[in-house]
């Protein structure tokens, strides 16, 4: 579904790229974990496949169409859903309105469907009562579950997450990873998670390690 072709990126110095000549393929219905030590360029890689930045070298293709062709804004709106470690939600809205807003912006099939949004939230353990409160009154784990619910509500087939469990305790981490697996296996989406927790990575269908400017698949 998503392919990188000779992908390379560097910040200042062309001679010291973070990674170079990356050819990877990510399929729908699968989950992928990307490991690597701090500063190796995991987040940078993710920002490229999330359409937040443009590659310095090579190309990224979604179903054989280059992201440049699709247009980054268009790609972000319709094709990718992003979960960050923090700052995922609109702080001045309730979880319910966060979902409705995201669905409206991304022209989701369920846009405007309050009952559906409530159902998705309650499936993730956000009660109807919590769903109407301001998100700032929710715990970190609850907020991350709202972010995952948002991803589930939207139609984007590609889901990328940058250390989504970074701020969570063990129980919440387990719960969140289970949800990502659900998104991959039940919704048939392609899930790519950046993490530096081997426990988290081991639960995904595939694991890559970013090392020496290259992605290495782990057995």
């Amino acid at each position: 579904m998503l392919k990188t072709e000779g992908l390379g990126y560097w910040y200042q110095d062309k001679d010291q790229p973070l990674f170079q000549g990356i050819d990877l393929e990510f399929d729908a219905g699968q989950s992928y974990a990307i490991l690597g030590h701090s500063g190796s360029g995991k987040t940078t890689f993710l920002s490229l496949i999330a359409g937040l930045d443009q590659p310095k070298e090579g190309d990224i293709k979604l179903n054989e169409r280059s992201l440049k062709q699709i247009g980054l804004t268009n790609f972000r709106r319709h094709d990718v859903s992003i979960v960050f470690q923090a700052y995922n939600l609109f702080t001045y809205m309730s979880p319910l309105n966060n979902l409705l807003t995201a669905m409206a912006i991304t022209d989701a099939a369920h846009a405007g469907d309050k009952a559906y949004a409530r159902q998705v939230l309650s499936d993730l353990g956000i009660s109807t009562d919590l769903a109407e409160r301001n998100v700032q009154h929710l715990s970190g784990g609850q907020q991350q579950r709202v972010a995952i619910a948002r991803t589930m509500c939207c139609d984007a087939k590609l889901v990328v997450a940058d250390e989504p469990t970074g701020n969570l305790d063990e129980d919440n981490t387990k719960e969140v990873i289970q949800q990502f697996q659900k998104i991959a296996h039940e919704q048939g989406k392609c899930v790519i998670i950046v993490t530096h927790e081997p426990d988290v990575a081991s639960q995904c269908d595939h694991q890559f390690r970013l090392e020496n400017k290259q992605f290495v698949e782990l057995a």
């Binding site: 999330a50 937040l52 804004t73 268009n74 972000r76 960050f84 939600l89 609109f90 995201a102 991304t106």
Partner: protein
């Protein structure tokens, strides 16, 4: 339109910030409205001034031409004593001029003097019994040498002295158009009390020229000449109490039969003071300019207009300065909020929201604030406008007074009936009139619409200025640190 909903949710959720923004915007708009109110009040006051103060065009003998003629005659013929002959104004000419557009009414002045017969004149300590050539206006029949000044008028209410309230009728009534061809007279209070005259009494005067007939006059009113009018008069004049008002027809009778149907001067009231010069130009075509001249007096109007122009100009400056300052202030606030809200903008961008819709959201939020602020300013601006307005008018009136009193011509420069135009006293009076002019501040629908327009423009511009921040924002840099 999702950004409307987001804007509403944001304004509602961040109530504290919204209230603060409303207060700031209200303060800005209040000053804008105050400026708008003062400006429209000044415009209203100026047009009111046109109606109230008025301006005049005066038809009289051409002194300058007569003076030149006299000079040339002196050099050619060796006449012992040069004499300046002034041609009295023909009333038939005046009727023609009166038919010009913008002339609302006219008043005839014919002055002469007679001698007291059945009464005693009031004598001032300095000028007792002195001959009284040159009345307050300085224009008089060359042959008259009487001790009582006769000011023949169409109506006393149309004379400068009475219309600017320097002279007042205290008993009875003034001379009106109905007194034409009668022997009715209005005498001064001091002269009346000295001679025990009251309304209904008769008095006798003796003509100063011709066959020196005795004529009986009937007192129909008593007036009080103000103290300023005496200081106004030229030093050589007689006591102002010795001036009587009659119909101009009676004054002409005193002067002699050849003066019938003439006047010293005819003053035309111009309904629109702004049209004075065009009236003068049109009038000149109707008269023999070698014999007659038309002079204008719109000093009162100019004084009031200048003062109102000052206020209007100041109000304009307030409106624009406040609008510009307000735009900058709001833009700065929006720029600061954008910095504070960069994560929110980042999430929106990561969801693929168009940047213009994010700007539209900020604009809508600000618009909601401004709508409330306009309502608040609409109530508060009236108060501010009232305060500012009254202060401005008195201030500008004082400045006008100081500037115009310097340029005020000495009294009696132009022959314009009694009183003379633009003496120092009358200028002060005009400035006082300007001070008395109340700036009536009322908030009209037009003002509110204008205010709304300014609010909209300020909002739009401030968001435009601040939107650079949104356009430059990179979602990657915001969300990935």
């Amino acid at each position: 339109m999702n950004f409307f909903k987001r804007a509403w949710l944001n304004v509602w959720a961040k109530k504290g910030r919204s209230v603060l923004l409303i207060l700031v915007s209200s303060a800005i708009l209040m000053f804008v409205l105050a400026g708008l109110l003062i400006r429209s009040a000044a415009v209203k006051a100026t047009s009111q001034a046109k109606a109230d103060v008025g301006a005049t065009v005066t038809l009289s003998a051409n002194r300058q031409a007569a003076f030149k003629k006299m000079q040339s005659r002196t050099t050619s013929s060796k006449s012992s004593r040069p004499k300046m002959t002034l041609t009295p104004v023909k009333l038939s000419d005046a009727v023609k001029v009166a038919q010009l557009s913008n002339i609302s009414s006219y008043s005839v002045t014919s002055s002469t003097s007679v001698n007291a017969s059945s009464y005693e004149t009031v004598s001032t300590s300095t000028g007792m019994g002195s001959s009284n050539s040159g009345g307050p206006g300085g224009m008089k029949s060359a042959t008259s040498t009487g001790d009582t000044q006769i000011d023949g008028v169409t109506a006393t209410s149309l004379t400068t002295g009475f219309s600017n309230k320097q002279s007042k009728i205290t008993k009875g009534r003034g001379i009106t158009a109905a007194d034409k061809n009668t022997n009715n007279v209005v005498v001064e209070k001091d002269l009346a009390s000295q001679n025990n005259l009251t309304v209904g009494d008769t008095l006798t005067v003796k003509e100063a020229t011709g066959d020196k007939d005795k004529v009986k006059l009937k007192v129909v009113g008593i007036y009080k000449a103000s103290s300023t009018s005496s200081s106004n008069a030229s030093p050589m004049s007689t006591d102002p109490a010795n001036t009587m008002y009659t119909s101009y027809t009676l004054a002409n009778t005193f002067k002699g039969s050849k003066y019938a149907g003439t006047a010293d001067s005819v003053t035309f009231n111009v309904s629109n003071p702004a049209k004075v010069s065009s009236v003068k130009t049109a009038g000149k075509k109707l008269i023999n300019t070698s014999k007659y001249s038309l002079s204008t007096d719109d000093a009162s109007y100019q004084t009031v207009k200048a003062s109102m122009d000052n206020v209007e100009g100041f109000a304009n400056k307030i409106v624009w300065l406040v609008a510009i300052a307000g735009t900058i202030i709001l833009a700065l606030i929006v720029i600061l909020t954008i910095r504070e809200r960069r994560f929110e903008i980042g999430v929106l961008l990561s969801l693929g929201e168009a940047r213009w819709k994010i700007i539209a959201q900020f604009f809508t939020e600000m618009l909601m604030v401004i709508v409330v602020a306009v309502a608040i300013a609409g109530v508060g601006g009236k108060f501010v406008g009232n305060q500012l307005g009254s202060q401005l008018v008195s201030q500008s009136a004082t400045t006008t007074q100081t500037t115009s009193s310097g340029t005020g011509q000495p009294g009696g420069g132009e022959p314009s009936g009694n009183g003379g135009s633009g003496g120092p006293g009358s200028t002060g009076q005009m400035a006082k009139q300007a001070t008395d002019m109340k700036i009536a501040v009322t908030v009209s629908a037009v003002n509110l619409a204008e205010l709304g327009g300014f609010g909209l423009a300020i909002t739009f511009l401030s968001i435009m200025i601040a939107s650079g921040g949104i356009l430059r924002l990179e979602p990657k840099k915001v969300l990935i640190s």
